[in-house]
Symmetry: C2
Subunit: 207 residues, 2 copies
DNA sequence: AACTGTGAAATTATTCACAGCT
DNA sequence: AGCTGTGAATAATTTCACAGTT
């Protein structure tokens, strides 16, 4: 069956909602919908893509549902992550507290600035970019976050692919080319602001 | 006419591509498609939502198209932006060089940490959060970036709405409630990693 | 009675394919 | 001849609505 990509995103949000609810109880699709802003039918359909977890007339067992979603998303295991580019944004992500609760740990960091190499931040020693491949192979790292400037982003992505990385969260404002078995998720901060500017322009026109 | 939200996102990417091309020439939908990874029909349809800019047998005038897209997105004007929460991520965004070329300028920053208030970063003096409403009103700021911890995010968003902000880029891992004339774009970094983990889990199963 | 799971219908988005302009 | 603009066709996603289960 073909699962809409958007469903995965919603699943993450359902999971977040469940974290704020007492465990030892049931929750209905209606209640999840209310708390996340989606519709009840959508919640049920999304969950049904992956099996039948609900009990008619009661809803979903919260603790079970949490475990199930976590397993679907793959956040039931811990994932080690590599960070490439320890500039402002990279440092902020190193210090970001939101990753570990979801099972992600930035295990190693790389930069090409000699002044940074060898320094430790948040318990992670910054390594020279030339160490990238051996370290990633050794640590069996499959996920990387790219926060380098756009002019070296493609080069870094190529190195990551060669080092066996298959999932990349890219903050550089380019869309890197990768083999099709590698997943890239692009976050372009300026583009997000552009979308807001579009809405703003529209709504000001409407007045 | 109803314009798909995704079309706006693509428009931003077309624009980025055009920046890397000589001005005084034409470009075909096919060429734009090739450079952005979408299809030519999609490029033409997206542009056609907003008017007829192309010349049959030649393509689109690059300089004109750039101006046109910029106008559609609203990036032809400069936008002043407020930043709330000068933690690691907030500081990184303050220093981020990618906003200004697209017409966004972080004009003021707020925090509630007394040790930070009064300090200047990147030429922006950090103000006490109590100054938020008067400053935003005075500066007529409509766009805000929220990088506070999740437990105060809703409160901050409420303040922003009261101060007249109608577009919010939110990095706190909650979905704030806002009146329907306010647009919120949520970037949840952990959720993005969860999507990658999902792909990774799937592709490992396939082997 | 209450709530799930799911086909069918409706809606939304994308792709096709070609008439028409330069 | 080449490339746009766009209706029509197709595909994807969401919503509806209800049969079935507890």
């Amino acid at each position: 069956m073909k699962i809409p990509l958007a469903a995965i995103h919603r699943l993450s949000l359902y999971y977040r909602t469940l974290l704020g609810v007492r465990d030892d109880d049931f929750i209905s699709s209606d209640e999840i919908a209310k708390r996340t802003g989606f519709t009840a039918a959508q919640v049920r359909k999304d969950l049904a893509y992956f099996g039948q977890f609900g009990i008619p007339s009661k809803g979903y067992r919260i603790d079970e549902l949490k475990r199930t979603i976590s397993k679907i998303l793959g956040t039931d295991k811990a994932w080690d992550v590599a960070l490439i580019g320890v500039g402002n944004l990279g440092m902020a992500l190193l210090a970001y507290k939101g990753f570990e609760p979801q099972g992600f740990k930035i295990k190693c960091a790389f930069d090409n600035d000699l002044r940074k190499i060898g320094r430790a931040l948040e318990g992670v020693v910054i390594q020279d970019i030339s160490e990238l491949k051996p370290t990633l192979k050794k640590e069996k790292i499959r996920i990387a976050i790219v926060t380098v400037r756009s002019d070296s982003a493609q080069e870094v992505v190529d190195m990551l692919v060669k080092a066996g990385v298959t999932a990349i969260l890219n903050f550089a404002p380019i869309r890197p080319r990768v083999p099709k078995d590698v997943d890239v998720l692009n976050i372009d901060l300026a583009i997000e602001l552009e979308r807001l500017a579009y809405f703003l322009t529209r709504s000001e026109k409407r007045r």
